[in-house]
């Protein structure tokens, strides 16, 4: 048991420090002092080293050195402490503290003679009671260690004298120490009551270690007195106290464990959270991927929808086209059944007639019948051509290329085809064509139109009639082909219907009303040539048809 408390010295020592701090106003010094006051000896030690390099005054220097020495002592750096203590000048302010500190150190280093030497020197400095008591105590311990029981006894007694009754702990430990001294000298009579006294006192004192020690001492004493029953009791008590200490340690350990557990738990939690974060990141990632996937999917959907829509549109368009084509087909069928059957039948009849005439050798009649048959064949072939052209035109298969042509040869060629028929019918087919007209037209379609119109004119003009074909320039824009006949003319109703054709589509034509394919074809093709078809007619006087065609730009 070894006592170090230096309360009295400390008060004066710190007071001196404060005054130095105020006197020199060295910030570093004050800081070091603050650390010293708050018992932060590590910081104080480090700071003191720093301050040592700065301060100059002896007062400060010594003070700082002592502070450092004390800090070093507290940290267990005994050599450093001794060095520092030696460096401090022989200032009587520090002598006592120096000697006590040295004594403490040597005691700790178990160099008892040196320790005793310094403690005795300290006693020469006349320390105050508390420190004196401590010094006596430590001296006692030194002698106890040296087995110089007599001296130890002496010092412990001196200490005991100084201890005031109130300081129970000190009293107990002093009594126990003294008892130990006696006991080691086999002065059982003196020792046992002291042990007992210490034990009894410790009962009312809170320090467990003291209780334990006193109990153990009692147990050893009783055992040596062969008073085993009591010894066991004391041992048990000792054990209890030990247990309680152990328990306290255990509890501390447990709390330590708990702490570790808690830390582990926390770490676990952190790991878990990290996992969670990772999982969330994964979820986020997969969400992003999913969302973009969905977007792509939607895009595809939209694309396909649009594709489907356009397809549908295309299909409806095709359906309409097919409808028109179907109507055209129906129309053509009706043409074939209507207009083709009867002439073919007539031709057949003509041939039967011929056969009969040949059989009867009516040669004059044969010629006439043959002519009729030829005329019929001609007109049927013409009809066939129209059907062909019409269907080609409807399917956009009729090639169309408007170019510049001299009008005269085109009309001449068309008229040339009909000269024979006209002659046969005794119709005067005359032309009056201007030589210099150039028109812009598609040659083939113009040929078809002229052929149809001339055919009509010849068909509806009786014998000895007249047909005149004229061409002339109307204006800068148009030139005209005029076909004027002295035929039967067209009734107003029919004329109106023909004019209607101009903006009629195929599906609205009523076949039963008797407007031929020829006129329809003419209207369509002239329109396609950017021209106009004008019809003037008077019943039984004749018909005048004018085709207006755009002039060639040159």
């Amino acid at each position: 048991m070894f006592q170090t408390g230096l309360p009295e010295k400390n008060k004066t020592f710190i007071g001196r420090g404060n005054s130095i701090c105020e006197k020199y106003k060295n910030k570093a010094f004050c800081k070091a002092l603050d650390f010293y006051k708050s018992k932060e000896y590590d910081s104080c030690y480090a700071y003191s080293a720093k301050v040592l390099l700065q301060v100059k005054s002896k007062e400060e220097l010594d003070y700082v050195k002592f502070m450092q020495a004390y800090s070093a002592y507290k940290k267990g750096l005994y050599k450093k402490t001794l060095q520092n203590l030696n460096l401090i000048a022989d200032n009587k302010d520090y002598t006592l503290e120096k000697q006590i500190l040295r004594g403490n150190i040597y005691l700790k280093l178990k160099k008892y003679d040196e320790s005793i030497f310094f403690y005795q020197k300290a006693l020469d400095e006349k320390p105050e009671t508390l420190r004196k008591k401590n010094i006596y105590h430590n001296l006692g311990i030194n002698f106890l260690q040296k087995k110089d029981f007599f001296k130890a006894n002496e010092y412990f007694n001196k200490e005991l004298d100084l201890i005031q009754a109130i300081d129970t702990a000190a009293l107990i430990s002093a009594k126990m120490d003294l008892a130990n001294v006696y006991y080691n000298q086999y002065l059982d009579d003196k020792a046992i009551p002291l042990f007992k006294e210490a034990y009894d006192l410790s009962k009312f004192y809170s320090d467990i270690r003291l209780k334990q020690n006193s109990a153990r001492n009692m147990a050893v004493v009783e055992k040596n007195r062969k008073n085993y029953q009591k010894s066991i009791e004391y041992y048990m008590e000792y054990g209890n106290w030990k247990d309680s200490i152990w328990n306290r340690d255990k509890i501390w350990e447990l709390t330590e464990k708990d702490k570790q557990l808690a830390v582990a738990q926390k770490q676990q939690e952190i790991v878990l959270q990290e996992e969670e974060l990772k999982r969330q990141a994964l979820v986020q990632k997969s969400l992003v991927v999913g969302a973009s996937g969905l977007l792509v999917f939607l895009g595809f959907l939209g694309y396909f929808y649009r594709e489907l829509k356009s397809k549908n549109k295309f299909i409806t368009q095709q359906k309409e086209e097919l409808n028109v084509a179907n109507k055209t087909k129906d129309y053509l069928f009706s043409v074939v059944s209507h207009d083709l059957r009867s002439p073919i039948n007539t031709i057949k009849r003509q041939h039967e007639k011929l056969k009969l005439q040949l059989k009867n050798k009516e040669y004059d009649a044969v010629s006439e019948t043959t002519n009729n048959a030829i005329a019929l064949t001609e007109s049927t072939s013409h009809l066939l051509n129209n059907v062909l052209h019409w269907s080609l035109e409807q399917n956009n298969q009729l090639s169309f290329k408007a170019e510049e042509y001299p009008l005269k040869p085109l009309v001449e060629q068309a008229v040339y085809n009909f000269e024979e028929i006209a002659e046969a019918k005794n119709i005067a087919l005359t032309t009056n064509l201007e030589a210099t007209i150039l028109v812009k037209a598609d040659k083939e379609s113009l040929k078809i139109v002229l052929r149809n119109l001339l055919d009509n004119a010849l068909k509806y003009t009786g014998e000895n009639g007249k047909i005149e074909v004229k061409t002339y320039k109307d204006s800068e824009e148009f030139s005209t082909i005029e076909i004027k006949d002295t035929g039967f003319g067209i009734s107003e109703e029919k004329l109106a219907k023909i004019k209607e054709l101009e903006d009629l589509s195929i599906d609205k034509i009523n076949r039963s009303e008797g407007v031929g394919l020829g006129m329809l074809l003419c209207q369509t093709l002239i329109k396609k040539n950017n021209g106009k078809l004008l019809i003037d007619s008077e019943l039984n006087v004749g018909t005048t048809i004018r085709i207006l065609l755009p002039n060639a730009s040159a």
Partner: protein
């Protein structure tokens, strides 16, 4: 005046005879070929003014392939199709060979003759000349194509006395008459590219073979036919330089 040389590719003998007799009646000279091999042989050996091609030869569209070969080999002879094929497919295919005319059988006689005119016109890029009026003619480097009644005949360019500018175009003065050519003087000179024809005035081109006398001082040229032509200063020097006789 010479007759035009025509080549007719036609596999049907009957049609070929009918057609050639009709064309011969109209002052054309016809060579007949029954298939494309024969036709090609003839084209290599002789000069033709126009070629008339039937498309389907013995059931195959050899007319079109022959036309392709002609184009490929750069044989600059105008050709036209005369066929009974009216289908869009065949027509489109035939169109790829750039025929001058595509005629359908049964042909209109007048139209055939007209088409020959068109063929010649478009071959020398002088459209609407002989087909419009017989006052016009078509000029080629070697010949002058003119109308004779319903047909076309050709005369040698040497029969041209001189050329006179008439507004946009040119008038050719020949022994046989005057013809309008739908070409500018510059283009006409390019077309002829004949050293016998010299420019003597802004408006005149003279066939030097037909010059009788030249009066340099009076800026006058007198031709064999007695016609007098102006000789401008501007062209005199070049004229003298090119004709060493006058030095």
């Amino acid at each position: 005046m010479k007759k035009l040389q025509l080549l007719l590719l036609e596999d049907s003998e009957e049609e070929a005879l009918e057609l050639s007799s009709f064309l011969e009646d109209n002052d054309y000279e016809i060579s007949l070929a029954k298939n494309d091999v024969e036709a090609e042989k003839l084209i290599r050996n002789r000069f033709f003014d126009v070629i008339i091609l039937d498309i389907m030869i013995n059931g195959k569209p050899d007319g079109i392939s022959l036309a392709h070969r002609l184009n490929k080999e750069g044989i600059n002879v105008p050709f036209l199709f005369l066929t009974s094929m009216q289908g869009r497919e065949i027509f489109d295919e035939a169109k790829l060979t750039n025929p001058l005319v595509y005629l359908l059988k049964p042909y209109n006689k007048l139209e055939l003759l007209f088409s020959l005119e068109l063929a010649i016109e478009s071959c020398y890029q002088q459209s609407n000349s002989i087909s419009l009026t017989s006052d016009n003619a078509v000029l080629s480097p070697a010949f002058l194509f003119i109308k004779k009644k319903r047909s076309v005949v050709k005369v040698d360019v040497s029969s041209i006395n001189y050329v006179e500018v008439k507004e946009k175009y040119c008038s050719l003065i020949c022994d046989s008459g005057n013809y309008l050519i739908k070409l500018s003087l510059t283009k006409l000179k390019d077309m002829l590219s004949n050293p016998d024809f010299k420019q003597v005035h802004r408006n005149y081109l003279v066939n030097v073979k037909r010059i009788k006398e030249i009066y340099f001082e009076d800026n006058l040229i007198v031709l064999d036919s007695g016609e007098k032509i102006l000789f401008s200063e501007r062209y005199k020097n070049a004229f003298i330089k090119d004709n060493t006789i006058f030095r």
